[in-house]
C-alpha cells in the first residue's frame, strides 16, 4: 500500500478532496478528542481531463431522503439488476436503460477510477451565459481609458452567444439598452434611491412581455435576451462604440469632495435586472469601481474628503457610521444574487479603500472574484481580468455557474457546515449535523461561481456513539454532488464519492495519527479561525487557535512533562505548528497595518483558493535564484540572504524580489527570463498582485 502522502495526493488528484484525517475515529467522543475535526477541503471542479463524456443522467437512490447517486462503492447485483445504496442501504432497481449491465459491461460510474464523474444533463434549454458589466465612471481619464480597453478586449473573449449588458454609474446609474440603431438609449436611475425588483422591472419596461404572454399563452417562451442583455455577436460593434464613447461622470466635483458614486444602487439595479430576466441562470455581474460608494444605499463614506474612510480603529470604536447600513445593503444584494445563481465580481482599483469590507459578502457569497489594485491602468488588473476569461483545452471558460453542492454521508457521520464561497440552501436532511461549523444546518450549498480552484472547507461530525462500534473494515462514505451550469450552457452534474476507513481511536490511534494530513488540517483550521475572526475579536481567535494547537500537541506529541526539549512530533504533524505560527501573524488574523478592505480582500482569497495557494498565503515561499543552479526554495530566514542570490518571495498576493547586491544587466536579464517562466505557470488569481 502506498504511503499516506501518496494516497492523499492520489485522492486529491482524482477527486479534489483532502481530508484532515484519512482514517476516521469511529466514535463521536474520540473524534472530538482529535482536536482537528474530520473535515475536507473539496474543489468541486478540479480539472480532470480524463473524464468520460456521459450524456445521461445519474441514477439515484430511490429513497426520498437519500437520493444518493450510483457510485463505485455501491453493491451491485448484476443478475437482478439491483444495486444497494451505500449510504442508506436501500436496494434499487436499475432503470431500463441499464438493461445491458453486467460485470464486464459496467457503466462508467461504477468504475473505481471514476469515483468522480460528470454527467451532462440533456434536458432543459441551453442556458446562455450572461455577463453584466457594471462600470464606475468616476475615475481619472487614464484609468477609465484603460478600463474601457479591457472591457472592449473582453468582448472578444466572450462566446458569440453570450449575452452582455452594460450598466454605468457615477452620480446616476445608467442601464444601457443595447442594439438600438442610431440613438443609443439608456435608462437612468437616481443614485440615491434603492429599487426593488418589481419597481425596476416596471421602470425598465420589462413587464410587457409578461402581459403579452398573458394574452397569448401560445406565444413562444420569453426570448432569452432583452433590450439590455443581448448576444455579443449581435451588438459587438454597438457595445464597443458605446464603451468607446463612455465619458467620465460629467457632474462637477467641487474642491474637497469625493465624486458622488452610486455604487450601491448600481449593484442593486444589476442584481434586480438579472433577477427579473434571468433567474436561476448563470450570470456574472462584473463590477468595476474606482472608489468608494459615496451616496445612496451602500455608501461607505461621505463625499467630504476631509472625512477619511473608516479604518479598523474607527470600527473598533464603533465610529464607522455607514458601515452597518452599507453592509446590510450589500448582504441583501448578495442574498438576492445568490438565490438566483448570479455571481458578483468586484474589481476595485483605487489607491484608497473602496468599501470592500462592506461589499465582501457580494463576492464571498456568490463565488465572485474580488480584485484589488491601485489602478485599472496596471498590468495587475489587466492580466487578472484577462485571466477571468481563461479557457480550458476544450475552449470552454474555466468558470462554472449557479452550482449547488450537496453532501451525502454515511450514517455514522454528518456534515456540520462549510466555509467557502457559498451560501446555504437550507436543505435539511438526515446527514445534517446539529452542530454547526461555518455555514451549516444544511446539506446543500449554493456556489454561484466556480472555477477549478474554488475550494470549500467542509466540516463533519462523527455521530457514531462510542458504544456502537463500527465493524472492522467498515468505511465511512461521503458523496459530493455538484450540479452546475457549464460555460457551454450545459447543465452538468459532477459526483464525487469518497470513503475512508473507520478506526477505533483507542486501539488504532497510531494509524489515525499517521493518516493526518497536516497541510489540509492547517488550512481547515485556518479557515475556521478566519471565519471566527470575521465575527470575533482578534485576540480571542488567536487564543482559540493556540489552545487548539496545544491540545493537538498534547494529544499527538511525544514529550516528557516539564521538559520542552523533549517534545517530539511525528512527521505527519511536524509542519503543523509552523503553519499555525505563520497563520497567527498572517493578515488573515492580524489587522494591524492592514486596512479593513485589505483584510477583507485577503480573507476573501484565502477562503476560496485551493490548498496549495492557501498554504502559500499562510507561509510564503522563498525562492533563491543564482547562477549556481536552478531556483531552489530556501528558508524564510535572513540566513537565506546571500550576495550572489536573487531572492523571490511569493506570498500569493505579492511577489517580492530581493536583489542582494548590485547586479549587472546580464544577471537581471536572466532573472527576468526565469521569473517569467514562473509567472506563466501560476494559477488563475496568482498574479493578482504581481508588481
Amino acid at each position: 500500500m502506498a504511503t499516506f502522502p501518496e494516497y492523499i495526493a492520489q485522492n486529491e488528484e482524482r477527486d479534489g478532496v483532502r481530508f484532515s484525517w484519512n482514517v476516521w475515529p469511529s466514535s463521536r467522543l474520540e473524534a472530538t478528542r482529535m482536536v482537528v475535526p474530520v473535515a475536507a477541503l473539496f474543489s468541486p471542479l478540479r480539472e480532470r481531463t480524463d473524464l468520460p463524456p456521459i450524456q445521461y443522467e445519474p441514477v439515484l437512490c430511490s429513497r426520498a431522503t437519500c437520493r444518493a447517486v450510483l457510485n463505485p462503492l455501491c453493491q451491485v447485483d448484476y443478475r437482478a439488476k439491483l444495486w444497494a445504496c451505500n449510504f442508506c442501504y436501500q436496494r434499487n432497481q436499475f432503470p431500463p436503460s441499464y438493461a445491458g449491465i453486467s460485470e464486464v459491461n459496467q457503466p462508467a460510474e461504477l468504475l473505481p477510477q471514476f469515483s468522480t464523474i460528470e454527467y451532462v444533463v440533456q434536458r432543459g434549454p441551453q442556458m446562455p451565459l450572461v455577463f453584466l458589466y457594471v462600470v464606475d465612471t468616476c475615475m481619472e481619464d487614464e484609468d477609465l481609458q484603460a478600463l474601457k480597453e479591457s472591457l472592449q478586449m473582453s468582448l472578444s473573449l466572450l462566446p458569440p452567444t453570450a449575452l452582455v449588458g452594460l450598466i454605468t454609474f457615477g452620480r446616476m446609474v445608467q442601464v444601457h439598452e443595447l442594439g438600438c440603431e442610431g440613438i443609443s438609449k439608456s435608462y437612468v436611475f437616481r443614485g440615491t434611491k434603492d429599487l426593488n425588483a418589481k419597481q425596476l422591472q416596471e421602470m425598465l419596461g420589462l413587464t410587457k412581455p409578461a402581459a403579452a404572454q398573458g394574452r397569448g399563452p401560445q406565444t413562444a417562451p420569453q426570448p432569452l435576451s432583452n433590450r439590455f442583455l443581448q448576444p455579443v455577436q449581435k451588438i459587438d460593434m454597438n457595445l464597443t462604440d458605446l464603451l468607446g464613447e463612455l465619458q467620465r461622470d460629467p457632474w462637477p466635483v467641487t474642491q474637497g469632495k469625493r465624486p458622488l458614486r452610486s455604487l450601491g444602487v448600481a449593484m442593486s439595479i444589476a442584481v434586480g435586472l438579472l433577477e427579473c430576466t434571468f433567474p436561476n441562470t448563470g450570470a456574472r455581474i462584473m463590477t468595476f469601481i474606482g472608489g468608494p460608494a459615496t451616496q445612496g444605499p451602500g455608501m461607505v463614506v461621505g463625499d467630504e474628503l476631509k472625512t477619511p474612510i473608516r479604518s479598523w480603529h474607527d470600527i473598533e470604536k464603533d465610529n464607522a457610521k455607514f458601515m452597518k447600513k452599507a453592509t446590510k445593503h450589500y448582504e441583501s444584494l448578495a442574498t438576492r444574487a445568490s438565490t438566483n445563481g448570479h455571481i458578483i465580481d468586484i474589481y476595485a482599483c483605487a489607491l484608497d479603500q473602496t468599501g470592500l469590507l462592506e461589499m465582501k459578502c457580494c463576492s464571498n457569497h456568490t463565488g465572485g472574484y474580488m480584485v484589488m489594485a491601485d489602478s485599472f491602468n496596471t498590468s495587475l488588473f489587466k492580466q487578472t481580468f484577462q485571466r477571468v476569461f481563461t479557457k480550458d483545452v476544450q475552449g470552454s471558460f474555466k468558470m462554472a455557474f449557479a452550482a449547488t453542492l450537496e453532501v451525502k454521508t454515511s450514517r455514522e457521520i454528518k456534515v456540520s457546515g462549510a466555509i467557502g464561497p457559498c451560501v446555504s440552501l437550507s436543505a435539511k436532511g438526515p446527514c445534517v449535523s446539529e452542530n454547526e461549523i461555518g455555514t451549516g444546518g444544511t446539506c446543500q450549498w449554493k456556489i454561484c461561481g466556480l472555477d477549478p480552484a474554488t475550494t470549500l472547507a467542509l466540516y463533519f461530525e462523527v455521530v457514531n456513539q462510542h458504544n456502537a462500534p463500527i465493524p472492522q473494515g467498515g468505511r465511512g462514505a461521503i458523496q459530493f454532488v455538484t450540479q452546475y451550469q457549464h460555460s457551454s450552457g450545459q447543465r452538468r452534474i459532477r459526483v464525487t464519492t469518497t470513503a475512508r476507513n473507520w478506526a477505533d481511536a483507542q486501539t488504532q490511534i497510531q494509524s489515525i495519527a499517521a493518516s493526518f494530513d497536516q497541510e489540509a488540517a492547517a488550512i481547515l483550521m485556518a479557515r475556521l479561525a478566519v471565519y471566527r475572526a470575521e465575527s470575533e475579536e482578534g485576540p480571542d481567535v488567536l487564543r482559540w487557535l493556540d489552545r487548539q494547537l496545544i491540545r493537538l500537541c498534547q494529544k499527538f506529541g511525544d514529550y516528557h512533562k516539564d521538559d520542552p526539549n523533549s517534545f517530539r512530533f511525528s512527521e505527519t504533524f511536524s509542519l503543523y505548528p509552523q503553519f499555525m505560527f505563520h497563520l497567527r501573524r498572517s493578515p488573515f488574523l492580524q489587522v494591524f497595518n492592514n486596512s479593513p478592505d485589505e483584510s477583507s480582500y485577503y480573507r476573501h482569497q484565502f477562503n476560496r483558493q485551493d490548498l496549495t495557494q492557501a498554504l502559500i498565503m499562510i507561509q510564503p515561499v522563498l525562492y533563491a535564484y543564482s547562477f549556481n543552479g536552478p531556483p531552489e526554495p530556501v528558508l524564510l530566514d535572513s540566513s537565506s540572504i546571500l550576495p550572489d542570490r536573487i531572492l523571490l518571495m511569493d506570498t500569493f498576493f505579492q511577489i517580492l524580489i530581493y536583489h542582494g547586491e548590485v547586479r549587472n544587466q546580464a544577471e537581471l536579464h536572466l532573472f527576468t527570463k526565469q521569473f517569467h517562466l514562473k509567472e506563466n505557470a501560476s494559477d488563475l488569481i496568482y498574479c493578482l498582485r504581481c508588481f
Binding site: 440613438i183 443609443s184 457632474w251
Partner: protein, 1227 residues
C-alpha cells in the same frame, strides 16, 4: 321738469368737460370748485374746457393742431357735448350725423357748437361720453331749456343744450321733429332729416344754431342754469362767449376757439368731436330705449303715446328696459313736454332722443316721449332741421342712425367720424339710414315710430364703440408725448407714435385713471378702480427708440436711500446738485461723487438731457452683481423642449411637426444683437410615461437617449451634453430631431405624466445653474402613476353651482409647490396643449401661469388644419424677446401703494412680483389703493422696476416711470379715465374672482361696481336730472357695452358647448393680457370687406348681427380667432375676388387660408389678414363661415352686442339693466 333735469345733465356735461380739460381745470378748479358743487361742471367745464384743451392738447391736442391738440380732448368733450347737444337736440340720430357734419363742414360751426359745447361740451364733455350725451340728450331737452337760461352761468351746458335748444328755438320744431324720429326709432324720419339737417346745421347752422341755442337754450334751461349758472355766467362770459360762442354762434366758430382754447382747437377737433360724440351718444341712446322699449314699452308705450302723444311712449320705450324708470320717466315726459312745450316740444323731441342717444338713453326714454312727438314733427321738421338746429338734432340722430345705415353701407359711423367730409354725405345717408332704420318706425309713421321706439331702443342710439374708436383715431394724428403729467393717451385701437418725455409710454404703462382721487374716500366713493396695466418688456414699433441702457458703474444704479426708488426724472436735485430728494418718499440722498453734476438756473442738472434716467420715462440700468442671485453673474439662459411622444401625440402628427420645426427654429433663438449668435442653450426631452433625455454633446456621433423611468422622484440624468450650444451641436441635434418621430412611430403608450416633466426641466436648469424656459408639448390628462397625477373631474353638473369655482382651482396642490420651485430657479414654462379630451387646463396651467409662461391650446389638433397656427405660435414664442428670473416692484409716491397684482407670475410676499420668465407680450395689472392723501400739486408717481436677466445673460433693471394727476373733485376723475384699461382690470379681477366665488357672485359684483361708478358720477358730477335718464361719463360711455362683453365671456357665462378646459384656458390667458388684447378680445373687430382700399382699413362695424349684410363679406378678429363671414347673397364678384369661385356653395368652409389670387382685392385682403396676425401675440387661424352654415353659431358667439346663446344679455338689454341698477343706487 324734465328740462330741469336735463339741464342738470347739461351741467354734468359741463363738469365732464372740465374733467377733460383737467389741465385747465386745475387752475379753473380753483374757481370752479364752488360752482362745481352744483354745476361746477358747467362753470369749470368751460374754463376747463379751455384748460383741458391745453392739457389735453398735449395729449390729444397734437392731432387737432396746436389748439386742437388741446381741444382734442376737449373735443371729445365737445364732441360728446356736441353729440350731447346734438343728441339733445336731435336725439341720437342727429347727434351722430350732426357732429360729423358739423365738425367737418362746420368746423367753425362745429366750433361754435363745440364752443358752446365746450362750455357745455365740457359739461357735455364729461357727459359727452355716453352719459353726458344721454344726459344731454335727455337733459338736452331739459337742459336745452335750462341751459339757455343757465346759459350765462352755464352757457356751455346751455350751449350744448343750446344747440339743441337753439335747434329747438330756431329749429326747435324741426329738431323736434327730427328728434322725435330718432326717438321713435331714430331710424325713420329723424335720421334722415336729422343727418341732413344736422349736416346742414353744421355746415352753416352751427353758428346760427349756437345762437339759437343761446337764445333758445338759455330760455329753456334758464331756470336751472340760472341758479347754478349764475356764477358761471362770468366764466361763461369769458368762456361762454367763446363756448357760448355757441351762444356766440355768431362768434360761432371763431368764438368757440376763443371760448376755451379748446374750442379753438375745437374747430378742428370739433369735427372729430362731433363725430365722436354722436356715435357715443347715439349708441347709448338708441340702444337703451329701443331694447327696453320693446320689452316693457308696449304697455307704457300706450301711456306715453297717450300723454305727449308720442313722447311718453318713446320715453317709455327707452325706459322700457327699465320698466320702473320708464313709468316715472313717462310721467316726467309728460312734464317734459311742458318744458318742451315752450320751445320744448322740439327740444323734448330732441331731448328724448338725445338723452336717449347720449347716455341715459333710457332715461331719455322719457324724453323719448317728447321725441315721438318730435318724430312726428320731425318729418316736417327735418326739412326745417336742415335749416335750423333741428338738423343738428336730426343730424345727431341721423348720425346715430347714420351709423346703422353707415354700417349697412360700411361706414355709417365713418361719415360721422369722417366728420367733415363724410359728414355731409353721411347726413343724407343717415337720413336714408334713418329711413331704413325708421322703416319700421317710419312706416308706422311718426306715431307708430314712437310706439316702436318704445318697444325698441335703437341700437344706433347707444354709445358705439366703433364711433369712439374712430373718433379717437381721427384725433390722434400727432405723436403722443409723455411729458405732461396726467394726460390720457390715445386709445389702444389707435395708431399713434409715442415720444418719451419723462413718463413711460402707454405701450408700457396704461392707467385706468390719469387723474387719481386725492383721498381714499373719494376713491371709495367713485369705485373707479385705480390700476395700471404694465407691460414691462413691450415691443415698440420700429420708429420708437427702445429703452436706453444706463450703466452707473460698479456701485450700481443710484437709488433713494429710504424707499430705494431708482434715479428718475422725479428726483429733485438740491444743494447745487449734491443731493437729491426722492419724488416718492421725499427722503434726501447724497449724490455719489461720480454722479455729481451742477444744476442750471432752473434747478435742473445740466446733463439732464444727456442722461436717460433724468429725462425719460423708460430706460434700463445695468445691474451689478449685487442684483444677482447668489451674488453671481447669471449663466446664459437655456431653452428646454419637452415633447410628449405618447400615442396621441404621434398620431396627431404633433411630434413630427414639432421636431421638423425645431430644426429651423434653432437658428432663431432670441438674441439682442441680430449679428450675434444666440447664447441661449437648448436641451431636449421626450416623454410618455417615462422621460427621455437626450445627450446631444457635439463630440458625439449620435445623440444618446437617457430614459428616466423613476418619475416619482425626478432628477436630471446628465449634465454635460444636455444643454448645448446650437451651433456646436447642430449635427447631433438635427440627427436627434430626425430620429425622434421614427423612434416613437410605433409607440403604443397612451399614458403620460406631466408633473415630472416640469420637474425634469427644472432640475436641468438647477443643475446648470441657469434660468430658462421650458417648452412643453403635451397631449393628454396625466393619469400615469407619478407626482401630479390627475383624474378626470370634468363635471358639467357643477356649472352654475357653488362648487363651480373648484373647477378653476387646481386639482392637486402639487403644481403650486412645483411652480414655486420653478420661480425660485427662474424656470419659465410654456405649455402647448393638444388635447382630444379633457386635460384639466386649470391644473396643468398652474405652473405656466405662475412662472410667467403661456398656455397654448389646440383642441383636436390636426396636422393639416392646425399646423400653421401652431407653428406660428411656436415660432413667435421661441423667438420673442424674453427676460428671465425677473422681479418686478412697483414703488409709488406716498399716499398710494400697489396692493394687488394680476397676471402670470408668482408672489412670495406682498410687494415683489416674481416672474420666472417675462416676455414682450406679458402684461401685469397693478391695483393701487390709498394709504394716505395725495396732493394735487405733486400728483401720484409710480415707478415700476423690473430686475431681469436678458436673453444675452445680462442682468438688468428696466424702469418705467409714470406720473398722473391727482384731483379733489370727482368730476376730474371721471373726466380722465380710460375705459379699456378699466375693463382690463375688471376682467382680470373677475377672472381671478371665479377661483373663490360662484360665477354668479362675480358677475353681480362687477355689475354692482360698475353701477356704483356710474351712479357716483351721476350723483356727483351730473346735474340733477330725471332718474329715468342714464347719464354716462364721456370717457366711460363704453363701460356698459364692454362690461357686458366681460360678463358674457365664456369664463363668466359659459354656453353648453364650452368646455371647462376652454374656460380655464381663457381665464388664464386673460390674466396676462394687455389692454390692446383685452379690448379686441372682449369687443372683437369686425370689418366689412365689401370695399378695400390700400393703405387704410375699412371702418369696423359693431359686433351685432344686424350690422351684417347678406350681401357682404366680413372679417372678425378677436386676437385669438379670425373669421371670414360670407353672406348668403354675396356678390359673385366678391366671391371671385376672394375665393376664386363664383358660387357661394362652392366655398370650402374648411379652408384655413385664402387662395392666392392675382387681383388687388384678394391681395389686399390677405395683406389685411396678415397684418392682423402680425399684430397679435398669437396666430389666428382663419375660419371661413358661410352664412347659415353650422359654423355660424361659433361666429355669432363673437357678435357681442347681441344676445348670446348662453344667456348673455344684448347690449341694449344690458344697458337698460345697468340703468336700473344705477337708479336703484341713486334712490
Amino acid at each position: 321738469m324734465n328740462v330741469n333735469q336735463h339741464t342738470p345733465m347739461a351741467s354734468p356735461y359741463g363738469q365732464p368737460q372740465p374733467g377733460y380739460t383737467q389741465p385747465g381745470y386745475a387752475p379753473l378748479d380753483g374757481g370752479y370748485p364752488a360752482p362745481y358743487a352744483p354745476y361746477n361742471g358747467p362753470a369749470s367745464p368751460y374754463q376747463p374746457g379751455a384748460p383741458p384743451q391745453g392739457i389735453s392738447g398735449p395729449a390729444r391736442g397734437p392731432p387737432t393742431t396746436g389748439p386742437p391738440p388741446i381741444s382734442a380732448p376737449q373735443q371729445y368733450n365737445q364732441y360728446s357735448h356736441s353729440q350731447g347737444d346734438m343728441q339733445n337736440g336731435p336725439p341720437p340720430m342727429t347727434q351722430a350725423q350732426p357732429r360729423p357734419p358739423v365738425s367737418q363742414p362746420y368746423n367753425p360751426g362745429a366750433m361754435n357748437m363745440s364752443g358752446p359745447h365746450p362750455t357745455y361740451p365740457q359739461h357735455y364733455g364729461p357727459p359727452p361720453t355716453m352719459q353726458q350725451v344721454s344726459n344731454q340728450m335727455s337733459g338736452m331737452q331739459i337742459t336745452s331749456g335750462p341751459p339757455t337760461p343757465a346759459g350765462p352761468g352755464y352757457a356751455p351746458p346751455h350751449s350744448s343744450q343750446p344747440p339743441v335748444s337753439t335747434a329747438y328755438s330756431a329749429a326747435p320744431p324741426p329738431s323736434y321733429t327730427q328728434a322725435p324720429p330718432p326717438v321713435s326709432s331714430a331710424p325713420t324720419q329723424p335720421p334722415p332729416s336729422g343727418p341732413a339737417a344736422s349736416q346742414q346745421y353744421y355746415g352753416s347752422p352751427p353758428p346760427p344754431s349756437q345762437q339759437p341755442f343761446n337764445s333758445s337754450l338759455p330760455p329753456t334751461s334758464q331756470q336751472q342754469f340760472t341758479s347754478s349758472s349764475v356764477p358761471p355766467p362770468p366764466s361763461q362770459q369769458t368762456l361762454p362767449p367763446s363756448s357760448y360762442s355757441g351762444p356766440a354762434p355768431p362768434a360761432g366758430q371763431p368764438p368757440a376757439p376763443p371760448v376755451s382754447q379748446p374750442q379753438q382747437s375745437f374747430p378742428p377737433s370739433q369735427p372729430p368731436f362731433s363725430s365722436a360724440p354722436p356715435p357715443t351718444s347715439q349708441p347709448a341712446f338708441a340702444p337703451g330705449p329701443p331694447p327696453t322699449a320693446p320689452g316693457s314699452f308696449p304697455p307704457r308705450a300706450p301711456p306715453p303715446s297717450s300723454q305727449p302723444g308720442s313722447y311718453p311712449p318713446p320715453t317709455s320705450a327707452p325706459s322700457c328696459q327699465y320698466p320702473g324708470p320708464l313709468p316715472p320717466q313717462q310721467q316726467p315726459p309728460p312734464s317734459q313736454p311742458f318744458p318742451y312745450h315752450s320751445g320744448p316740444p322740439p327740444p323734448r323731441a330732441q331731448m328724448p332722443p338725445t338723452s336717449m342717444a347720449q347716455s341715459n338713453h333710457l332715461p331719455p326714454g322719457p324724453q323719448g316721449p317728447p321725441g315721438p312727438p318730435g318724430p312726428l314733427q320731425q318729418p316736417p321738421s327735418q326739412p326745417g332741421m336742415q335749416t335750423g338746429y333741428p338738423p343738428q338734432q336730426n343730424g345727431a340722430f341721423g348720425q346715430v342712425r347714420g351709423p346703422q345705415p353707415g354700417y349697412a353701407g360700411p361706414y355709417p359711423g365713418q361719415p360721422n367720424y369722417g366728420a367733415p367730409a363724410p359728414a355731409p354725405a353721411p347726413a343724407p345717408p343717415a337720413q336714408k339710414r334713418l329711413d331704413p332704420d325708421a322703416i319700421p318706425s317710419p312706416q308706422a309713421s311718426d306715431m307708430p315710430a314712437v310706439q316702436k321706439s318704445r318697444h325698441r331702443i335703437d341700437p344706433d342710439a347707444i354709445p358705439s364703440p366703433i364711433q369712439v374708436i374712430e373718433d379717437d383715431k381721427a384725433k390722434s394724428t400727432e405723436p403722443f408725448t409723455t411729458g405732461v403729467r396726467g394726460q390720457a393717451p390715445p386709445l389702444v385701437t389707435t395708431n399713434f407714435q409715442v415720444k418719451d418725455q419723462g413718463n413711460a409710454s402707454p405701450r408700457f404703462v396704461r392707467c385706468t385713471a390719469y387723474n387719481m382721487p386725492c383721498t381714499a374716500d373719494m376713491a371709495k366713493q367713485s369705485q373707479v378702480p385705480l390700476a395700471a396695466v404694465v407691460k414691462p418688456l413691450a415691443t415698440l414699433p420700429p420708429d420708437e427708440t427702445p429703452p436706453y441702457l444706463v450703466d452707473h458703474g460698479e456701485g450700481g444704479p443710484i437709488r433713494c436711500n429710504r424707499c430705494k426708488a431708482y434715479m428718475c426724472p422725479y428726483m429733485q436735485f438740491i444743494e447745487g446738485g449734491r443731493r437729491f430728494q426722492c419724488g416718492f418718499c421725499s427722503c434726501v440722498t447724497e449724490v455719489p461723487p461720480h454722479y455729481f453734476q451742477h444744476l442750471d438756473h432752473t434747478g435742473k442738472r445740466v446733463d439732464c438731457y444727456d442722461r436717460p434716467e433724468l429725462s425719460l420715462g423708460s430706460y434700463e440700468f445695468l445691474a451689478t452683481v449685487d442684483y444677482c442671485k447668489n451674488n453671481k453673474l447669471p449663466q446664459p439662459p437655456a431653452f428646454i423642449f419637452l415633447i410628449d411622444v405618447s400615442y396621441n401625440a404621434v398620431k396627431s402628427g404633433m411630434v413630427s411637426i414639432v421636431c421638423q420645426e425645431l430644426k429651423t427654429l434653432m437658428d432663431y433663438l432670441p438674441r439682442e444683437n441680430p449679428e450675434m449668435d444666440s447664447i441661449v442653450r437648448v436641451g431636449f426631452v421626450t416623454y410618455n410615461k417615462v422621460l427621455h433625455f437626450y445627450n446631444v454633446k457635439s463630440s458625439l456621433a449620435q445623440p444618446q437617449m437617457l430614459v428616466v423611468s423613476d418619475v416619482s422622484d425626478m432628477f436630471v440624468p446628465l449634465l454635460d451634453g444636455f444643454l448645448v450650444n446650437v451651433n456646436e451641436s447642430r449635427l447631433v441635434i438635427e440627427s436627434l430631431l430626425d430620429q425622434i418621430p421614427e423612434m416613437f412611430a410605433d409607440t403604443r403608450e397612451t399614458e403620460t405624466v406631466f408633473g415630472p416633466v416640469i420637474q425634469a426641466g427644472l432640475e436641468a436648469l438647477k443643475a446648470a445653474d441657469c434660468a430658462g424656459k421650458l417648452f412643453v408639448f403635451h397631449t393628454s390628462l396625466p393619469i400615469a402613476e407619478a407626482p401630479g397625477k390627475l383624474k378626470n373631474r370634468e363635471d358639467k353638473k357643477l356649472i352654475g353651482t357653488d362648487k363651480e369655482k373648484s373647477l378653476f382651482q387646481p386639482q392637486v396642490g402639487f403644481y403650486n409647490t412645483l411652480a414655486k420651485e420653478c420661480v425660485a430657479q427662474g424656470c419659465c414654462v410654456d405649455l402647448f396643449l393638444f388635447p382630444n379630451q379633457y386635460v384639466d387646463v386649470a391644473t396643468l396651467g398652474v405652473v405656466p401661469v405662475s412662472t410667467g409662461g403661456s398656455v397654448y391650446k389646440y383642441t383636436y389638433f390636426q396636422a393639416q388644419s392646425d399646423q400653421e397656427r401652431f407653428l406660428n405660435d411656436l415660432r413667435r414664442d421661441v423667438q420673442k424677446p424674453v427676460g428671465f428670473d425677473a422681479v418686478m416692484r412697483v414703488r409709488t409716491s406716498t399716499g398710494i401703494r400697489a396692493t394687488d397684482f394680476f397676471g402670470s407670475f408668482f408672489m412670495s410676499n406682498t410687494t415683489d412680483v416674481e416672474l420666472a420668465g417675462l416676455d414682450c407680450d406679458k402684461a401685469i395689472t397693478v391695483e393701487f389703493k390709498h394709504d394716505d392723501k395725495l396732493s394735487e400739486e405733486t400728483g401720484a408717481l409710480m415707478q415700476c422696476a423690473v430686475l431681469y436677466t436678458s436673453c444675452s445673460g445680462q442682468r438688468r433693471l428696466r424702469i418705467h416711470n409714470m406720473a398722473v394727476n391727482c384731483c379733489s373733485q370727482l368730476a376730474d376723475l371721471y373726466r380722465n379715465c380710460e375705459t379699456d384699461t378699466i375693463i382690463n382690470f375688471f376682467s382680470k379681477y373677475a377672472f381671478r374672482g371665479v377661483l373663490n366665488n360662484p360665477t354668479k357672485a362675480v358677475r353681480d359684483t362687477l355689475v354692482n361696481q360698475c353701477a356704483q361708478i356710474l351712479a357716483c358720477y351721476r350723483k356727483n358730477c351730473a346735474s340733477p336730472s330725471s332718474a329715468g335718464q342714464l347719464i354716462l361719463p364721456e370717457c366711460m360711455k363704453l363701460l356698459p357695452v364692454y362690461l357686458n362683453c366681460v360678463l358674457k365671456s365664456d369664463v363668466l357665462l359659459p354656453g353648453a358647448d364650452v368646455s371647462l378646459d376652454d374656460r380655464a384656458y381663457l381665464r388664464q390667458l386673460i390674466s396676462c393680457m394687455d389692454v390692446t388684447e383685452t379690448h379686441v378680445f372682449f369687443y372683437p373687430r369686425l370689418l366689412p370687406l365689401m370695399k378695400l382700399e390700400s393703405g387704410s382699413l375699412p371702418v369696423a362695424v359693431r359686433d351685432s348681427e344686424e350690422r351684417l349684410s347678406k350681401g357682404g363679406v366680413y372679417l372678425l378678429e378677436t386676437g385669438l380667432h379670425l373669421f371670414l363671414w360670407v353672406g348668403a347673397s354675396v356678390q359673385q364678384e366678391l366671391l371671385l375676388n376672394i375665393f376664386g369661385t363664383p358660387s357661394f356653395g362652392q366655398i370650402d368652409s374648411s379652408m384655413t387660408s385664402l387662395p392666392v389670387l392675382d387681383n388687388p382685392f384678394s391681395q389686399r385682403l390677405r395683406e389685411i389678414i396678415d397684418s392682423f396676425r402680425a399684430q397679435r401675440s398669437r396666430y389666428m387661424k382663419l375660419m371661413v363661415v358661410k352664412q347659415e352654415d353650422r359654423a355660424e353659431l361659433i361666429f355669432r358667439h363673437f357678435l357681442v352686442e347681441d344676445k348670446s346663446v348662453s344667456g348673455g344679455a344684448s347690449y341694449v338689454d344690458f344697458l337698460c339693466h345697468m340703468h336700473k341698477e344705477i337708479r336703484q343706487l341713486l334712490s
